[in-house]
Amino acid sequence: MNIRPVLRRSLGRLGLLALVSVLCVPAAGAQEQRLLKFIPQADLRILDPITTTAYITRNHGYMIYDTLFATDAKFQVQPQMVDKYELSKDQLTYSFTLRDGLKFHDGQPVRSADCIASIERWAKRDALGQKLAEATESWKAVNDRTFTLKLKRPFPLTLEALAKPSSNVPFIMPERIAKTDAFTNITEAIGSGPFKFVKEEWVPGSKVVYVKNADYVPRKEPPSWAAGGKVVKVDRVEWIYIPDSATAAAALGAGEVDWWEQLPPDLIPVLARNKNIKVENIDPLGSMGLIRFNFLHPPFDNPKMRQALLYVVDQNDYVLGIAGDPKNGHTCYSFFTCGTPLSSEVGAEPMKGKRDFDKAKQLIKEAGYKGEKIVIIDATDQPIVHSQSLLTAEMLRKLGLNVEVQAGDWGTLITRRTSKEPVEKGGWSIFHTWLVGPDLTSPAVNFALRGTGETGWFGWAKDAKIEELREAWFAATDAAGSKKAADAVQARAFEFVPYIPTAQFILPTAYRSNLSGVIIAPMTLLWNVEKH
C-alpha cells in the first residue's frame, strides 16, 4: 500500500502551519529598560504583614509600605516617615512629627491617626510590640502630622521597636485598614511606600506586579538597609514566581528575568560561570538554623538530654548540609546572630572545639534515658529543614538513641508541631527550622529563647530564670548594660538549652550584570536598583 500521498499531505499541512507561525508578527516589546523582573524566594499569598510572619509577605510590605523609623547598616535607628521627634526629660513622652508630603497610594495624606492605628495593630501581634504596649499609657494625635506616645515607665527600646526590620515590621497603613482585627487578613494593600501594588494583575502562584509610586517623597540620605532614601529607578517590578529551580536558572541565564532572590546551593557554580550574571551574598546577617525540642515529654524534658547534644552538634556539618559550600556559611556559637552587637560566645564552650561523644553519653546516662523514641518531624519540601533533620538523626543514632524521622511537607510539619501529645499519640520530639538574622539579634526579638512554657512558641520551653534575665535586659539603660544583660541571657540559654543553633548561612542572590544599585541588607529591597 502506497503511503507517500498520506505523508505528503501531512507534511504539507505542517509546513503551512510553520509558515503561518513565522508570518505572525511578534508583539512589540514592552519598555524593558525600566521593567525589573524578579524571582522571589516564595510565592506571595498573604498580603497582610501583621497577621503572618512569612518573609515573603514582609518583603511585599517593604515594597508598598513605609515605617516611622528604620534600622540602618550600623544597627542605628533612623527616622523614616518621621521628620523630627523628641523625648521628654522624664523619658515618658515621645513626640513625633511626620514629614511633609506623605501620601497613601489612594491619594489620601498620611495622618497621625493612621500611624497610631497601624502601630496599635502591629503591637497586638509582635513580641516587641507587645512589650512596648505593656509600657504604653496612650497614643494621642495632636494634629494630622504630630502625635505623642505617653509611656507608663521609660522604655529605652521604643525607637528600636518602631524600627524593627523583620517580621513583624511596624508598617504604616491607612487607619481604616489598620482597624482590621489583628488576627484577620486585610483585604486591601494600600500603603505609602515607594511602590504601588497592582492588585488587578496579581496572579497568586505566578505573578505579583508593582509600579513606581510617583507621589513618593524619598528621604535625601543614601539608602542603608531599610533606612535612608528609597529612590525607585524602575517603572515597574514583576515578581515572577518560578517554582522549578532549574527553570529559574535557565530563565535568568537567558535574560528572561533580571534577578533571582535565593539560589539553591547546587546551582551557584552553574550561574557563577555565566559572565552576564553576578552571584553575590548581599545579606550581611544571613540566617540561622536551629534544633528545637519538645519540652513537654521525654526525653528532652530533661535538660541533661538537651545539654548532651551541645557536645556533639558539629556546626561545620550543618554549614555544609545547608549551604553546600563553606563560603556560604560559618559557625556561630551564639543565640544572637553573629556579627550583631549582642552576639558573643559566652557559655558556648560545650559547642566549640572537638566534639565529645563520651561526654554526651555521660549526660544521657545521668538523664536516665531509657530508650524512649525520639521523633524528628521533617519537611522534605524545605531543603534547609530537611538537611538539618537528616544530620540530627544521624548524630542521635551515633549516640545510640532511638530515633525516627517522620517526613512530610512543611504544611504537615507546622500543623503537627502544634500537638502537645506524646509521640505515641502523634506528638513529636524535635523539629528544625531556620530564622533570618534580624529575628535573632536580641532577647527582645529572639522568641525561640523564651521560657514561657505552654503559652510560648512550639516546644513550650519553660524557664523562669531566662524570663527574669530577659526582663533585666529590657531594663538596661545603656549599651554596656544591654550587652552584659544579653550575655547573662545567653549564659542561661546554654544551661537551659531552649534550642541549639546549628549554623549561620547565607543564601546567595544572582542578578544580571546590567543591574546596579542592589542594596546590601538582611532583606531584599528593590528600590535604588537600576537596569541599564
Binding site: 500500500m1 502562584g205 522549578d244 535557565a250 512543611w410 527550622t433
Partner: protein, 313 residues
C-alpha cells in the same frame, strides 16, 4: 438523543453532589491546618487558635459543610483562605493558560500521532512500524520533566529560539502566545502522541482486516482513499475516546509541565492549594473539574454518532 443528554446531565449533578461530600470530608480529615500556615513560623498556639476561629474552622463538620453547600447553591465557590480572592476569580485567571496548553498539546498530539498511527498500521511489520512503536514506547517511558528540560536546554538556552518559561495571553499577540506554548505543548504532547499513535495503529489494524476494506481495494480505490475515507473513519471511535480523556485530564492540570515551564495553570493552582491547605480552592477546583470531566465524556459519547451512523441514543 435529547432524553439521553438530559439523563446524562442529571447524572452529572448526582456525581458532583457525591464528589462535593467526599472532597469536603477528606479535607476535613486530612492533617494540616491553614491557620498554622497563615500564622507563619513565628507563631504561638494562641495565634493559631485565634486565626482558626476567625476562619470558622473551629466549627463542627456539619456546620462548615452546611455553610459551604449553601454558598455553593448560590454559585459561590468561596474565598481563598490565604489570598482572600474569590475561588472563581482564581480559577478564572488560570482557565486561559490551561485551555491554551490543552488545545496546543492536543493539536500537536493529534497532528503527529494520527498520521503516525495510520502509517504504522499501513506498513505493519516493517521498519517504519517498528520506529513508530519504539517512539511511542519512549513517549510513555521518558518522564515529561526530563523531556521538558532537554527542550529548554536545546531551544531556549543553546539556540535562544524560544522562551524558557512563562505564559503570554492571546491578547498580547498570537505569536507571543504561541511561542510560549510550543515547548510545553511538545513536552506534554509526547505522552499523548505515544498514546494516540498506538491506539490509532491498533484500531486501524482491526479495521484493515475487515472484508469491506479488501473490497474497496479490489474495486480499484487509491490506497490513501481506502485508508482515510474508509478505514480511518471506522477506526476513529477508540481514538476519539482517548482524545476525549486527554482533554479532560489536561484541563484538570498538567502539574509537572506547568511547574517546569512556570505556566499559571489549574494544575499548579490545585497543588499549591493542597500544600497550603487552602480548602475552598481545593473544593472548588475538584467540583468544577469533576463536572468538566463528565461533560467532556458526554460530548465524546455524542460525537460517536458522527463517526458511526449505526450509533443512536
Amino acid at each position: 438523543m435529547i432524553a439521553y443528554i438530559i439523563r446524562r446531565l442529571f447524572s452529572t449533578v448526582v456525581v458532583m453532589a457525591v464528589v462535593a461530600l467526599v472532597v469536603f470530608s477528606l479535607l476535613y480529615l486530612t492533617p494540616g491546618d491553614p491557620a498554622a500556615v497563615i500564622a507563619g513560623d513565628i507563631a504561638t498556639d494562641e495565634d493559631i487558635r485565634l486565626i482558626h476561629a476567625r476562619l470558622g474552622l473551629d466549627k463542627p463538620f456539619l456546620v462548615q459543610f452546611g455553610r459551604w453547600l449553601w454558598s455553593l447553591l448560590h454559585g459561590d465557590l468561596g474565598t481563598s483562605i490565604f489570598t482572600n480572592l474569590p475561588v472563581t476569580q482564581l480559577i478564572g485567571q488560570r482557565i486561559e493558560p490551561t485551555l491554551s496548553l490543552t488545545l496546543c498539546t492536543l493539536f500537536v498530539a493529534v497532528l503527529v500521532a494520527v498520521p503516525l498511527g495510520v502509517v504504522a498500521a499501513a506498513k505493519v511489520g516493517t521498519w517504519l512500524d517498528r520506529v513508530v512503536m519504539s517512539f511511542s514506547v519512549l513517549g510513555f517511558s521518558v518522564p515529561v520533566f526530563v523531556f521538558a528540560y532537554i527542550l529548554i536546554l536545546t531551544f531556549s538556552v543553546q539556540l535562544d529560539w524560544l522562551p524558557v518559561q512563562g505564559y503570554r495571553s492571546f491578547r498580547d499577540g498570537v505569536w507571543e502566545w504561541l511561542r510560549h506554548l510550543i515547548l510545553p505543548s511538545v513536552a506534554l504532547g509526547t505522552v499523548y502522541v505515544a498514546l494516540i499513535a498506538r491506539m490509532t495503529r491498533a484500531s486501524m489494524l482491526e479495521v484493515l482486516a475487515q472484508d469491506y476494506i479488501r473490497t474497496a481495494a479490489a474495486k480499484g480505490l487509491a490506497p490513501d482513499q481506502v485508508l482515510l475515507r474508509h478505514a480511518l473513519k471506522n477506526a476513529a471511535i477508540p481514538v476519539i475516546t482517548v482524545i476525549g480523556m486527554g482533554i479532560a485530564l489536561l484541563i484538570s492540570g498538567a502539574i509537572v509541565t506547568e511547574t517546569v515551564f512556570a505556566l499559571p495553570g489549574i494544575g499548579r493552582l490545585t497543588v499549591d492549594a493542597i500544600l497550603r491547605r487552602d480548602y475552598p480552592i481545593i473544593q472548588g477546583v475538584t467540583l468544577i473539574f469533576s463536572a468538566v470531566y463528565v461533560v467532556v465524556n458526554l460530548l465524546v459519547d455524542l460525537s460517536y454518532v458522527f463517526f458511526d451512523p449505526r450509533i443512536r441514543y
